[in-house]
């Protein structure tokens, strides 16, 4: 570049660079990003549209590649076939350890320039930043943060039973009994593998603590998986079954949430997407429904972070892709998206006054746990371990929870096997 510019005068250089810039700008207008995602339900689709508008305001095109289907299974199948045919989209909704798997295949592009210019290292908590990096380079950008270890409750049911929100596991059982005596279902639950796992990880976090959680469900330490603490957590988890109704098998989570809303059930252990159901029923947080950290996990935060991973692309598309990455983490989008989706922004420095009480508490806890430790990835939601290990753990958890005669020791032993088989 320098040897090329030397014969030119300063003015001609300026003209040339201006021309180059305008050329770059006009071509950037044509540049498009293609984004694969499964934000297709009402609120989510509105939230995704926000990003499209922001991109278009900057002069980039947005090609929407939405693949419906709740957990993104269909979207992932589509993504795999696109990637295999050598034609991946510019960005795709990929999260957790899956980012690493795609990174190992050498398919992801780097975002280090944007990350440095925007100061992502300072913006994001280190635990979160680590998930977004592959091999030391940023390859993905976080969109939102869901907290998984929440307890939702119907205040009228609690009042009828004459109890307060439980803050420890023991209290949870006491409160549950009181609610049952008052004639309600204590704990609404849906008997699906991922919901069983969601409750299990909160119980494990409460009974074993953050450090144990980290060792057992994130690092898959075999000693921890087969330990007394694990057996105790499994037994407590199974006892919770006594607080649930008999018809839960196969029930969807939102049906369980509506049981809390209708006052059939007192409480539910579920991530903060449950808030969407409360909001849709036009209830106000703190008045018509209550939210609190899952009993015994006040100092922990199991996160489930949606992120957009960037595929390796060239030229103009890359410019558009980098702009996309920058916009995703900018306050405008973070605020708009997360207000629509019920989660909290991925950067802890934002003004939360627009958000409801639960989201504000979530953000406080997010910051606090990020500083003090206690911010851990959710196993049940694919943030901690790879899909195959997660699946194997799900099998053990759900089988144990539903089995009438499996001992906790046996379940712990199978958990160790599941971790070994995955290595």
């Amino acid at each position: 570049m320098t040897s090329f510019t030397s014969p030119f005068t300063k003015t001609s250089l300026a003209i040339a660079s201006a021309a180059a810039a305008s050329l770059a700008f006009s071509s950037a207008q044509a540049a498009e990003v293609e984004v694969l995602h499964w934000w297709t339900s009402g609120g989510e689709a509105r939230a995704a549209n926000e990003l499209k508008d922001l991109m278009e305001a900057e002069g980039y095109g947005w090609e929407d590649f939405a693949v419906a289907g709740g957990g993104g299974e269909t979207a992932m199948t589509v993504l795999k076939s696109r990637a295999m045919s050598g034609n991946p989209p510019s960005a795709a909704q990929i999260k957790g350890p899956e980012i690493q798997e795609w990174g190992e295949l050498g398919l992801l592009g780097e975002l280090d320039e944007v990350a440095e210019a925007e100061g992502w290292d300072e913006l994001l908590p280190p635990t979160v930043a680590e998930i977004m990096r592959h091999d030391g380079h940023y390859v993905a950008v976080p969109v939102n943060v869901h907290r998984v270890n929440w307890l939702w409750a119907n205040p009228e049911v609690l009042e009828a039973a004459g109890v307060e929100l439980p803050t420890t596991l023991d209290e949870l059982f006491e409160v549950g009994e009181a609610i049952r005596e008052a004639g309600f279902i204590p704990l609404a639950h849906g008997g699906q593998a991922w919901q069983d796992a969601t409750v299990f990880e909160s119980v494990l976090l409460a009974s074993g603590g953050t450090e144990f959680y980290q060792r057992a469900l994130v690092e898959l330490d075999e000693d921890a998986l087969g330990s007394e603490q694990m057996i105790e957590a499994l037994e407590t988890f199974k006892r919770l079954r006594g607080l649930m109704d008999d018809d839960m098998s196969g029930r969807d989570w939102n049906i369980a949430t509506s049981m809390v809303i209708n006052g059939d059930a007192g409480m539910q252990l579920m991530g903060d997407w449950a808030k969407g159901e409360f909001t849709a029923a036009e209830l106000t947080a703190g008045e018509d429904y209550l939210c609190a950290a899952a009993p015994g996990t006040q100092d922990a935060f199991t996160f489930n972070i949606d992120s957009l991973a960037m595929f390796r692309v060239e030229g103009e598309e890359r410019d558009a892709q980098q702009a996309l990455a920058r916009l995703v983490l900018e306050p405008t989008f973070q605020e708009a998206f997360n207000l629509a989706k019920g989660s909290i922004p991925a950067r802890p420095d934002l003004d939360m006054s627009e958000f409801d009480q639960c989201a504000q508490q979530s953000m406080n806890d997010f910051q606090r746990t990020a500083d003090e430790g206690g911010l851990v990835p959710s196993m049940a939601h694919g943030m901690a371990v790879r899909a195959d290990v997660q699946g194997a753990i799900f099998d053990v958890v759900t089988n144990y929870f539903n089995s009438r005669d499996m001992a906790a020791e046996e379940a712990a032993r199978r958990m160790v096997n599941a971790a070994q088989a995955a290595l």
């Binding site: 990637a83 899956e98 798997e101 795609w102 018809d247 196969g250 899909a387 699946g391 539903n402 009438r404």
Partner: protein
């Protein structure tokens, strides 16, 4: 083959000046069939072969070609969930085929008694087949849910101790699949048998009556043996419905409680597509294929050979 020969022969016999046209006509069936043969060779048998190749690799999220021999099969054999799924398939498939055949036959015989409104009744019994398994699954899910369906209804009549909680009972959940699938398919089997019954020569029955055979004896000794080809078709259709059952499980039990009502098809889907274990999923798909062949080939062989001699 015999069909194409009979079409071709007149053209060949028509004379030398039409030999071009004759040749074209001789080739035409093959030409017309060629694309579909090529397509099915590639998409069915080619992909079967590809699945087999993948089952020998360590493919996880995307297919890879690092061969690991039969390690995926060994992992499958050590997988508790796979055994639950396979046992379920045997239980579900066996009961489903047997009950559908028995019920279909009984309904067909009853309907064959020259009753009034036969057309309307036939339609009623046949109608469930027009529904998708998803619809059947959802409807039975509600009916069988202890808090909503049959149990709640009977209890509301005053039988407080009535229990019918198979859907939420890990030991019984697989039988709810049988109930729903039988409800859906037995009317269809009935229609098959009814057609078979109508095809039986009246004179055989009259001869049997003249010989003094009682009605049950006529059915047992004469009518049912005559229906053997129908049984053959029905078993073929029912067993492939049983083996590929996927939507019914997803809609009715979701494989639960736990994975108590998992079937190999749902196991395969879960591992290949959601758990990033394409190798293991392919291995289970190959075992499913092996299972189908192990049952169907002997059956096909005995039936078709029997027919050739008979």
């Amino acid at each position: 083959m015999s069909l194409s020969n009979s079409v071709v022969q007149p053209a060949v016999g028509a004379g030398a000046r039409r030999s071009h046209a004759g040749m074209l006509q001789a080739c035409l069936p093959k030409l017309v069939l060629a694309p579909s043969v090529a397509i099915s060779l590639f998409f069915v048998y080619g992909f079967m072969l590809w699945t087999f190749i993948l089952s020998l690799t360590n493919s996880r999220m995307l297919p890879s070609y690092e061969f690991v021999g039969f390690a995926q099969y060994a992992r499958l054999m050590a997988n508790d969930r796979w055994w639950v799924a396979s046992t379920n398939l045997v239980v579900f498939g066996g009961l489903f085929v047997a009950i559908c055949l028995a019920l279909g036959l009984v309904l067909a015989i009853l309907l064959d008694q020259r009753i009034r409104q036969e057309g309307a009744l036939r339609t009623i019994y046949l109608y469930p087949m027009a529904l998708s398994f998803i619809v059947t699954g959802v409807v039975w899910k509600w009916l069988l849910n202890p808090g909503l369906g049959i149990q709640a209804m009977v209890r509301s009549w005053g039988f407080e101790n009535f229990r019918f909680d198979w859907l939420v009972n890990p030991d019984m959940a697989v039988y709810t699949l049988v109930i729903a699938a039988v409800w859906q398919a037995s009317g269809f089997v009935m229609a098959l048998f009814l057609a078979g019954l109508r095809g039986i020569d009246d004179s055989i029955l009259k001869a049997a009556q003249l010989d003094g055979a009682s009605l049950p004896r006529i059915y047992w000794r004469v009518v049912i043996p005559c229906l053997r080809p129908v049984v053959f078709s029905a078993v073929m259709i029912l067993s492939h419905i049983a083996i590929k059952s996927f939507d019914l499980v997803v809609a009715l039990t979701g494989g639960g409680p736990g994975y108590a009502s998992d079937l190999p098809a749902t196991f395969m889907y879960a591992h290949a597509f959601t758990r990033a274990q394409i190798g293991l999923g392919s291995a289970s798909a190959m075992l499913m294929l092996g299972g189908v062949l192990a049952i169907l080939i002997p059956y096909l062989y005995s039936e078709l050979r029997g027919r050739r001699h008979g």
